[in-house]
């Protein structure tokens, strides 16, 4: 393993970690194409390293008390049943699917999520009266952009369950699954995007653990690259957390769409070649 490869992996990790923390993505959507398309690792090797960095991003992001306050622990723990089940299902399903097919599914998934986020760009889900009863799964938090404490109820929990299951399945691509949960929780379930991102970040770790353990046991994880990526991601996470409260929710959504479209295009063109 050349020093240059490790430094490049560290840099890619830092970039992925910074943006991942900001957008609640876990960073894998940026790291995956780098490891897979730039370094030429197999999908399984790349996703193995990527899910390990997701454990690091998830943990580092949730280590900040301010971010843990944004997270909805009850909702997260309930949804974790579905993300982990989806993760296990994905392990089994992807075990019998060709890489070309996986890449095509990956490209479609990203394109569809980009469309969903785009269609709901201008909507806000925050209820400004903080005295409402938020119900069994709702939550409340302080937000400067709205000028005080805000509250929200969780609508359509079944949609959240289904999105979490699919998020668990696509975690096998090394993309965490925040990429599915955050838009779904925000768009259909009424959870403000920051709360959705913090909740998603917290629960990413469990599914990532299951997939990482699978890749680890198959000897598919290159330890030097995994370590370089993890350290890069951790450095990037610090920068991302600093920017979190200094940018607007609308900016987050636009950045999310741009990234999704680019990565989707990379995988669509890879299929044709």
């Amino acid at each position: 393993m050349s020093l240059f490869t490790e430094l490049a992996t560290f840099a890619a990790g830092a970039f992925a970690g910074g943006l991942g923390t900001l957008l609640g993505l876990g960073g894998g959507v940026i790291l995956m194409p780098f490891l897979n398309k730039v370094l030429g690792l197999s999908l399984d090797q790349a996703s193995g390293i990527s899910v390990i960095t997701i454990i690091a991003t998830s943990s580092a992001a949730s280590a900040s008390p301010a971010r843990l306050k944004l997270a909805n622990l009850r909702l997260g723990m309930l949804l974790e049943i579905f993300t982990t089940t989806g993760g296990v299902f994905g392990l089994w399903w992807f075990g019998q699917t060709s890489d070309a097919t996986k890449e095509q599914i990956f490209a479609w998934v990203l394109a569809l999520i980009a469309l969903v986020v785009l269609s709901r760009l201008g909507k806000r889900n925050v209820i400004l009266d903080p005295t409402i009863d938020v119900g069994l799964l709702g939550g409340r938090f302080e937000e400067a952009e709205s000028g005080g404490e805000v509250a929200y109820r969780v609508r359509r929990p079944v949609v959240a369950f289904a999105a979490s299951f699919f998020a668990g399945v696509v975690s096998n691509f090394g993309i965490g699954g925040g990429i599915l949960k955050v838009p779904a929780l925000n768009t259909w379930c009424g959870v403000p995007i920051r709360a959705a991102a913090a909740t998603s970040a917290l629960m990413l770790g469990a599914t990532a653990l299951i997939i990482a353990a699978d890749r680890f046991s198959h000897g598919q994880i290159v330890p030097e690259l995994a370590a370089a990526a993890v350290l890069g991601v951790l450095a990037g996470t610090q920068v991302g957390a600093w920017f979190q409260h200094r940018t607007k929710a609308r900016t987050h959504k636009i950045a999310l769409i741009v990234i999704l479209v680019i990565v989707s295009a990379i995988y669509f063109s890879g299929v044709r070649r």
């Binding site: 943990s59 990482a212 699978d214 030097e224 370590a227």
Partner: protein
């Protein structure tokens, strides 16, 4: 062993109740935050040491890196375990069920493969 918690309760009420009803998850939040901070710093230090050892040409580095990766994987595992214990202590049935199911899946998937 029949205890009567109701006799003790009124004395605690003025302080304990408003706090407990407003933020029942505060204790868990602090514990999880602590696990995350310690876990991340510990695994990062071990991983960085492993990379330095490898750069110095010591084969031990690879083993140190694997220890660091396992430490990292222990973070979400211990978070779920702590959440399960907290849910049992607070008698939060929904969360006992949720965290027990997730713990079961992790034991089934992870321990079976690693051991």
């Amino acid at each position: 062993m029949a205890t009567e918690p109701n006799i003790e309760a009124p004395r605690e009420m003025p302080d304990a109740i408003p706090h407990a009803t407003q933020h029942p998850m505060d204790r868990l939040e602090r514990t999880i935050g602590g696990i995350m901070r310690v876990g991340v710093v510990l695994s990062a230090v071990v991983l960085a040491s492993g990379l330095v050892l490898l750069a110095l040409g010591r084969p031990l580095g690879t083993r140190v890196l694997n220890v660091g990766l396992v430490l990292l994987m222990l973070i979400p595992a211990s978070r779920i375990l702590v959440s399960l214990v907290d849910a049992i202590l607070r008698r939060d049935r929904l969360l006992v069920l949720a965290t027990a199911v997730v713990s079961g899946i992790i034991v089934w998937q992870v321990l079976a493969k690693i051991l």
